[in-house]
Structures are given as C-alpha cells and as structure tokens.
C-alpha cells in the first residue's frame, strides 16, 4: 500500500486583490512504504509547497491527498496536528530545535504532544538519542552542540514517534560537506531499517542518495524516475 497518494493537487496563493499565484498545478504522485525519494527543483518550482502539503503543514486548494489511505486534504487544524505528531518526522535545514531546551527535551517534545507518560517518554527519547549516537549529549543545549550534532538531535526528534515518513527539507543545507555526508549516512541507515524517507533538496549530489528522484518545474512534475547511479555507504559503520 502507498503511504502517500496525491491526486491532482493544486495549490494557489492569494496575494491580495485579484492576484493569485499558482504554486502547484495538478500534481499527482504515489510514494510507497520504505521508499527513499528525493524531490528536486529550482527555487520557485513549488517543491516547498509540495513538501508543506505532504507534511500536512498546509492543505491543498483542490485535489485529493490520501495518507495511509486516509483523506487528509480536508482535515481541520487539530486533526492535521495529530497526523504531523504521530505520522511525520520533520528534519529542517535550520535544525529548528528549541534553543532553551536540552537535547533530551527536544527529542521528548513530540511525545509530550502525543500524551506519552513522562517515564516512558524519557526512556524512548534517550534510546533514540543513543540511536543517533548522541547518548552522551542528552543534557546539552543546541548552542553547546556542533551543526552535525544538532541535526542528529533533529533526526532523533523526527524518529522518536516512529512515524510513517521522515520528511527532510535540505537537511545538509547548513552543514559543511563532511558533516553533510555523515547525515546522509544516517538517512541511509534509517532507510535500511525500514523507514520511508522523503528528501527535499536542490543539490543533485544529495539527491543521488535516494532511490527515486522527482523533479518539479513551474508547479508540475517534470520527471519521476529511479536513480541509476546511487551513492551508497557502508552502513555497518553508522548503525
């Protein structure tokens, strides 16, 4: 079964007055379980809009979006919040950690919103931090961590609820290339462990880690094809 099914998704932005911007014009695509997909495209191509809709941060103007077979295109704010909380793990370019909270609390946060009791929450957050090899940084605040470590905390936060998909928006954009590689190795490992990963990027280099590349241009899908020349790592090193 497909995790994500988009049918004729249209998104327009009302820029005030009669002016409207057509960000997505009829996008249809399916993403299956344990796929590793890269969404590519230059800025203005609509990839951020598509990511926001896939991530349930925004709703389409028209079209149908089925997430695990459930229609989410007409859900209200709170229902979408529940989907984001339980089913989607976000990894952002700018990490987006809470600056005043330590790593453990940042990773715990989705579980707090999911209503998981404190003891179980801490236990799971700690395990997930260890999984990204940051078990010894649980009580460090983001400004006490390196860029790569911060992004790994963010990945742990995305993983902790065991979501259906991991949605990464330019995850290496703020990292130097060596650290970027490390993060990509982490994604590789997560994919091998059965996670579904959607990578939004404009760097071809990064997109080559995925199994399938979807290229967007001017609000529609230009191409959707498997990656021929995949970059792969010796995963044993990372997990």
């Amino acid at each position: 079964m497909n995790v994500i099914e988009l049918k004729n998704i249209v998104k327009t932005y009302d820029m005030g007055g009669a002016e409207e911007v057509l960000a997505l014009r009829s996008v249809s695509l399916n993403i299956g379980r344990n796929e590793y997909v890269a969404i590519m495209g230059p800025s203005g191509s609509g990839k951020s809009t598509l990511m926001n809709i896939i991530g349930c941060l925004d709703t389409p103007t028209s079209g149908l979006y089925l997430f695990n077979g459930v229609n989410v295109s007409e859900m209200d704010d709170n229902a979408l919040a529940r989907i984001r909380n339980k089913e989607i793990g976000f990894v952002f370019q700018t990490f987006n950690l809470l600056a005043r909270s330590d790593s453990l609390h940042n990773v715990e946060l989705p579980l707090i919103y999911a209503g998981v009791p404190s003891a179980e929450r801490k236990q799971r957050a700690r395990e997930t931090l260890e999984h990204v090899q940051l078990g010894d940084r649980a009580h460090h605040k983001p400004n006490e961590l390196s860029g790569g470590q911060r992004q790994r905390v963010a990945v742990a936060r995305a993983l902790v609820t065991r979501p259906s998909i991991i949605l990464a928006d330019e995850p290496t954009g703020n990292l130097d290339s060596k650290t970027g590689e490390e993060i990509m190795m982490l994604f590789e490992a997560l994919h091998r462990q059965g996670n579904t990963i959607i990578l939004v990027t404009h760097e071809a280099d990064i997109a080559e880690h995925a199994h399938r590349t979807i290229r967007l241009r001017d609000g529609h899908i230009e191409s959707d094809e498997p990656v021929v020349k995949r970059k792969s790592y010796d995963v044993a090193k990372v997990s």
Partner: protein, 407 residues
C-alpha cells in the same frame, strides 16, 4: 491526563521564558503587584470600616428600643420636631408597669461634668443618671467590680460605675474600685469599671461615661432634663410587636388623641445599620473601582508583553506546531505564561499588602480577611487568563508554514 501533561509542559515553558527575560518579567509583574496591593488594602480598609461600624452598632443592642424625643436619623425638616416636649423620667416607671414584652426598662439622663481624682481630671465627661436596669438594657459588661444595685439606685446613693477611658485617665496606676472620685464637685465612690468598647461612636459607648443613680443625678445636676428610655425586648422575634405596644403606652402618656402624630420617636439599632448599609456599599464600590483600575492597567501591561512574547517566539510556535502541537496546546502554553506572571505578581502583592494591612489595623479594627487572600489569588489568575487570551489566541491560530519561515 493529556490536559495535565500539556499544562505541566506549558508551565515549564512559562517559567523558562519568565526567567530568561528577567527585567521584562519584573516590570510586567510590578503592574500586577501594585494592582493587588491596592485592591487588597482597599478591601482590608473597607472590612475595617464595616467591622468598626458593626462593633459600634452592637453597643446599641439589637434587642433594645430607645424611646426618645428626636429620631436618630431623619429626612424631615428639623423644625417639624424641634418644639416637641421633653420626655419625663416618670414615663419609665409607667412603661415598666404596663409593658408586657420587655424585661428591662432604664431611663437615662445625661450631662457633661468635670470628673476628678486627686490631680487627675477628665474635662467634660459624659455623666449619665440611670437605674440598675441599665446594665441589662445596654448589654455592656463590667471589667471589674459591679454596677449599682436596685437599692442604691432607689436610694440615690453616691456611687458610680465608670467607663474604661475615664478609668485610664483617672487611675493610670491604681485600682479604681472603692476610690472616691468627684463628679462635678460631688463625691462618688467607684463600684465598677466597664470593659473597653471602642468603635466609631465614641460618645455612645460606655468608655467615656460615668454612671450614677438617677436620683442622685437629679439632686446634683438638676431634674428637668430630657430623658431617653431604653427598653429591652425579651424576645428578639417580637421587636415589632414590642414597638407597637410601646408606641401605644407612650401616646397614652403623652395624651395624644387619635390622628395626632407622635411627638416622640422609638429608635433602634436597625435604623443605624439601615442608614450605614448603603453608605458602606458606596464606599466599597467606589474604592474597589478606583483600585481595580490599577489592576486593569497591570492587566494591559501583561497583554502588551504577551503580544511581544508571541511575536518573538513565532518561530518556536512554528516548530511546536510542526511536530504536533495543537491549537489548544499553544493556547494553553501562552495562557499559563500570562497566568503564571500574574500569579507571581499576586503572591508578591499579598506579601507586601499583608504587613501594610497591619498598619491599617492601627487605625481601624481589621485584619486582612482570609477571603481577600483567596480572592486576590483568584483575581490575579483571572487577570492573567483574560489579558493573556488575545495574544495566546493569536499564537494558537498561527499558520505553521508562515511561523516556521519567520526569522
């Protein structure tokens, strides 16, 4: 459970936010502190005024009717009763004989005289001539000694009972019982001293008065004086009946034919409480309104700072929403922050107001009522929730995409 979790998380975030913006939090809290201090002190003062009044009114006794020439409180023109005849001492005996609903009747006449003991003197002390029944009608209690007896009263003996303030003035160090004082030059032996009463109506309490038997009063200070007759009603539930009975007896004594208006008044404590009630309510309303304004200003301060806080933390709100915070969760977070600031302000306010209320206590018989403490805490929470609502609502409704993009 989930709600409690969210509340707990909200409070943790609040305290973290308050701590990381110390100066701002202190200044914002100050508005609430001032508001709570002024409101609690005002309620303490109002409580004091009411209590002082109640204590004073209690001196009149709820079960006592005062037959007098003039009313205590009147809206009518003074000229309509200015020419009334004096009440006479002999009425008291007639009332006592005829009345069925009373168990004590005491005529009281008064004047002002210099009272001395040795070198100590009280100028213009209130001297009252009455009978032994006064002890029953006044409901006053003696601190030491006794009131004069029926025999002393009937025989016009030169004995007296003195008020607490008189006692302090004349006998700063000695025991007054058995000592002979001079009242307007005449010797009287002190047989008893009253308990201190205090209150707003100094002249009506026993504190500044000297009580002597009616007959000796008349022979020393003159017999033709206006008299007030205190009638204690045996059963409090029969006040109205007793009043009607008393009115009938008085009309008969005064020789009033049917249709003629009363040329006397039957006063009672109720008249005072009825008059004071609306006055006290007005004082309370105006006082609390004005002090409430300062709390209102404090609330506006909270609202202002919460708007700033919400704008500053737009990105944070976006992150929280992206990872699953519902509208309600965000609303709760900012509401609890505003409520926490106000609660802290309220508690500090109470901590400041409490010692100040002890200062107020020097002027009015009051203590900060326990209810004021709870109400203040409730009010500060309420102010927080009300003034935090709009900013919190704005935060809760933010679009996660735009909030995440905010720098």
């Amino acid at each position: 459970m989930n709600f409690l979790n969210e509340l707990k998380e909200g409070l943790i975030i609040s305290f973290r936010a308050i701590r990381s913006n110390k100066m701002r939090s202190v200044l914002t809290t100050l508005g609430i502190v001032i508001g709570i201090v002024s409101v609690t002190l005002m309620s303490t003062a109002i409580e004091g005024i009411n209590r002082a009044f109640d204590e004073s009114a209690a001196a009149f006794g709820t079960d006592v009717l005062y037959v007098q020439r003039f009313p205590w409180v009147s809206n009518e023109d003074w000229s309509s009763f200015r020419n009334r005849r004096q009440l006479e001492v002999k009425y008291a005996a007639r009332i006592e004989r005829q009345v069925t609903l009373s168990n004590a009747v005491a005529p009281v006449v008064g004047t002002r005289r210099r009272v001395t003991f040795g070198n100590n003197a009280t100028e213009d002390a209130f001297v009252s001539g009455t009978t032994q029944d006064y002890l029953l009608t006044s409901g006053s209690a003696l601190a030491d000694g006794r009131f004069f007896t029926a025999e002393e009263s009937a025989g016009g003996r030169p004995v007296c009972a003195i008020g607490a303030t008189i006692g302090e003035n004349l006998f700063p160090t000695e025991d007054p019982i058995g000592k002979t004082i001079r009242v307007g030059g005449f010797p009287y032996t002190v047989v008893g001293i009253f308990e201190k009463q205090g209150g707003l109506f100094g002249t009506f309490t026993t504190d500044t008065r000297v009580f002597v038997p009616l007959f000796s009063f008349q022979s020393h200070f003159g017999g033709r004086r206006d008299v007030s007759i205190q009638v204690r009603v045996a059963d409090l539930s029969q006040m109205e009946e007793a009043k009607i009975e008393l009115e009938g007896i008085m009309r008969q004594l005064r020789g009033l034919t049917p249709g003629k208006p009363n040329d006397f008044n039957i006063n009672q404590q109720e008249i005072l409480t009825e008059t004071f009630g609306p006055i006290s309510l007005t004082i309370a309303t105006i006082g609390l309104f004005i002090t409430g304004l300062s709390l209102f200003v404090g609330g506006i301060g909270i609202m202002n700072i919460m708007f700033v806080s919400v704008t500053e933390r737009t990105k944070e709100i976006g992150i929280r929403k992206a990872i699953g915070a519902k509208r309600r969760t965000i609303l709760m977070q900012f509401l609890s922050e505003a409520a926490a600031i106000c609660l802290i302000g309220g508690l500090i306010g109470l901590a400041i107001a409490f010692p100040l209320s002890l200062v107020v206590d020097q002027f009015l018989p009051t203590a900060m009522p326990l209810s004021v403490i709870f109400i203040s805490i409730a009010i500060s929470l309420l102010v927080g929730v009300i003034s935090g609502f709009l900013p919190a609502y704005r935060a809760a409704r933010m679009n996660p995409v735009e909030a995440l993009r905010y720098e």
